[in-house]
């Protein structure tokens, strides 16, 4: 099992460690609900060293990634970021990816569980392109600060003003001792930043964040709360909502596919998928009955199966069971009453508009 440079820190601070995508990561330090609420109300710090960071240089880097990526990178200025997908020719999702455009390179941030697969996919599809693909997952590490107090903590720590940094933009700044890439991105539904720096600076930067932020309420957050936070925000998790047999169209993420741009891998299949009349659709739901839905359970409409739960959990914000599911498209509209089959019994739920949780704009 792989360990991040903060592994001993997590253990010393009572992190309950679990295996995630072959990494030993903290699931929870105190309780999932407590950590969840800290991120919604104050700010939380996440060790994201396990995620994959792949840098592409070379004169053809733009044309090359345009060929692999569903979103249109030509729209990006330097310092811009796009979310999108690497798809296979059948339109299935190889991974959901964020791509950062710097002046002299592009960086793809990929899921930990797909890191080796995507590196291989990128290399396999690079023939004919003059590009240099470098896996920087070990040399450049990553952490995130998420929550309403993120800006003020960042500002104090870096002695700079990050309030003007737009969503899905990044900047390169001196943060404490490190020259770091700071992006206004995240996976919690809250305001916040993701920070990339050389691996030797990460442990000190982690400590520095807690020194500066602790009195304001900043705490380390485990993968458990990361999952409940993204579930309330209805953000997909690869392996649950997305996989190689699922198109981004079914997942309701069509806005990250640009059909107008030149040919890319999966374009033809995705075009057909976007015109398909009868397919399944990703929805989010909340329980009306007192029960907690779980991954893999059956969704029914008037007792007839219409789909399957991809993520189910107790929502610390709404204090009830919530989840996401693929259901027949014809039954996928918000307010549709459905049932979730939990331990051989049907419990009432209702389809809700996405996302379940939306932060109030400050």
């Amino acid at each position: 099992m792989k360990r991040t440079l903060l592994n001993s820190w997590h253990k010393e601070h009572k992190g309950r460690m679990v295996e995630f995508a072959d990494w030993e990561m903290p699931l929870v330090y105190t309780s999932i609900s407590e950590e969840h609420n800290i991120v919604r109300q104050k700010a939380g710090l996440f060790d994201l060293s396990h995620m994959g960071r792949i840098r592409v240089k070379g004169p053809d880097r733009m044309r090359y990634l345009q060929r692999l990526f569903t979103n249109d990178l030509s729209e990006l200025v330097d310092g811009g970021i796009h979310y999108g997908f690497f798809c296979n020719p059948q339109g299935g999702v190889m991974d959901d990816v964020t791509i950062y455009k710097a002046e002299d390179y592009l960086m793809a941030v990929v899921n930990a569980c797909n890191q080796a697969k995507i590196l291989n996919w990128m290399k396999t599809n690079s023939s004919g392109f003059n590009v240099d693909i470098e896996d920087t997952s070990i040399s450049i590490l990553m952490l995130a600060i998420q929550g309403p107090l993120s800006v003020e903590i960042m500002n104090e720590l870096a002695d700079a003003d990050f309030s003007a940094l737009k969503k899905y933009r990044f900047t390169v700044r001196q943060i404490y001792r490190a020259k770091a890439v700071v992006s206004r991105t995240g996976y919690t539904g809250e305001d916040g930043f993701e920070i990339y720096c050389g691996s030797m600076y990460l442990p000190a930067l982690w400590d520095r964040f807690l020194d500066v932020g602790y009195d304001r309420g900043l705490r380390p957050i485990g993968l458990g709360a990361r999952d409940t936070l993204r579930t309330e925000a209805c953000m997909p998790l690869y392996g649950n909502e997305l996989d190689e047999h699922t198109t981004p169209v079914e997942a309701g993420l069509e806005k990250f596919i640009k059909f107008s741009k030149p040919d890319f891998i999966g374009k033809q299949a995705l075009t057909l998928a976007s015109q398909a009349e009868f397919s399944r659709k990703l929805i989010c739901f909340e329980m009306l009955d007192k029960a907690v839905p779980r991954h893999g359970q059956t969704v029914t409409f008037e007792g007839e199966p219409i789909g399957r739960v991809t993520t189910g959990t107790f929502s610390p914000t709404f204090k009830k069971g919530v989840g996401m599911a693929y259901v027949d498209q014809v039954k996928s509209t918000p307010d549709t009453p459905v049932e979730i089959e939990i331990h051989d019994k049907l419990f009432k739920a209702v389809i809700r508009p996405r996302p379940l949780y939306k932060r109030r704009k400050s």
Binding site: S31, I32, S33, G224, D227, T228, V292, T313, F314, H343
Partner: protein, 132 residues
Amino acid sequence: MTEYDIPSDLLYAKTHEWAKATEKEVTVGITSYAVIQMDKEIVNIELPEKGARVKKGESFGVVDSVKAAFDLYAPVTGEVTDVNKPASERPEIVADSPYVQGWLIKIKMNDPNDLNDLMKAADYKNFLASHE
């Protein structure tokens, strides 16, 4: 190794339920070890109705933490004579007090010999230690 609160006057199942037997009736709950496994946070409990039949070793209900569901297994066969309604409505009671206010159900035993298959406190402690 973690020290768990394991009262000496109770009997224990490998599935982390405790049982407190009087002559004909057994009170059942979950152990502090089970509570810690749920990150001390229980968000939902599903229990049978009074009068339901439960069978030794078979599931009689479910407890949910935020992230996972855990089956509850009956330590003895019999009929449910009482259900802790306040606990099922406010699951935090079980997390805070698994052995007292947080009991789950009472069962009228068919056969008191069922109790012989349960562990005494010292054995349950050893069982936990061997699983650390």
